[in-house]
Symmetry: C2
Subunit: 162 residues, 2 copies
């Protein structure tokens, strides 16, 4: 008897990393990268909040302030989950999070596919975004890397279908 | 004049992390998690290979052995990119990659939405997968965490639409 689970129905739902200042990160991912805040889950006992962001929801989407595990958010791909442990944004002793590219290495980056790399980079430059690699740096003309507020790397690639 | 880039067309394309043994990782992500290997990019000068995996390609998909940045792979969401630096799998001095949850913290996990959590966990247990948290451990009955071959965490959630 085969187990009643069908791997063809599995989906790559989300990627999670921790952020120091939720407000700064949500501003960055929505204003700079154009994601939509889909909802959040507060965990008062453990003093953290999870924020879920993604594309394709349109400009008038109303975030769900108490997302449940039954939400449609868990049925789609391309979700970014940001974990905010309360208080880190005001803690002078908090040393910040590790981005996985400095030693010790492991995690690398997320990548956003954009419609026009040069125009996207021009817009981000005008917004004060910090670049690790502009399109014209190095050999690869068709990619760029920016830093998010916690110094996580974000690759910019060109969406082939736009 | 506004810049000719439209953030509503941006997409969360992929998440990248480094793996010690590409063969072991591809076996895990395809056989245990049911992903499809979509293609790879070799970089002989810098001695690394990038592998791209994802869902929704069907069982007969033929991986692209020399993926370009113009591939449709870069137009969709839910892609996992694994970076393999050549030789780590046979290097006795290689200490392994950092999973972001041990100190220093930063990156957390990816999450796979499955059709049936208990059946998925039973199948994975039978396949010898290592669990960090089974559904019955702790307070949250509807999630589990497993380890991949490099000890990266993978959350299992229930797909609400299956």
């Amino acid at each position: 008897m085969s187990a009643p689970t069908d791997v063809s129905k599995y989906r790559f739902n989300h990627t999670m990393y921790r952020v120091k200042d939720a407000e700064a990160s949500i501003k960055f991912y929505t204003e700079v990268l154009g994601m939509t805040l889909l909802g959040k889950m507060d965990n008062p006992d453990a003093k953290f909040t999870l924020y879920f962001l993604g594309y394709q929801q349109g400009p008038n989407y109303k975030p769900d302030d108490s997302l449940s595990l039954k939400s449609p958010v868990f049925g789609r791909e391309g979700i970014l989950e940001l974990t905010h442990n309360w208080g880190t944004e005001n803690d002078a002793n908090f040393k910040g999070y590790h981005n996985g590219n400095d030693e010790p290495q492991g995690y690398g980056h997320i990548a956003i596919a954009v419609d026009n790399l040069d125009a996207a980079c021009k817009r981000m430059t005008d917004m004060g975004v910090r670049f690790k690699k502009r399109p014209e740096d190095g050999r690869m003309r068709n990619i760029a890397f920016i830093y998010d507020p916690d110094n996580y790397w974000i690759e910019l690639v060109v969406h082939p279908g736009v």
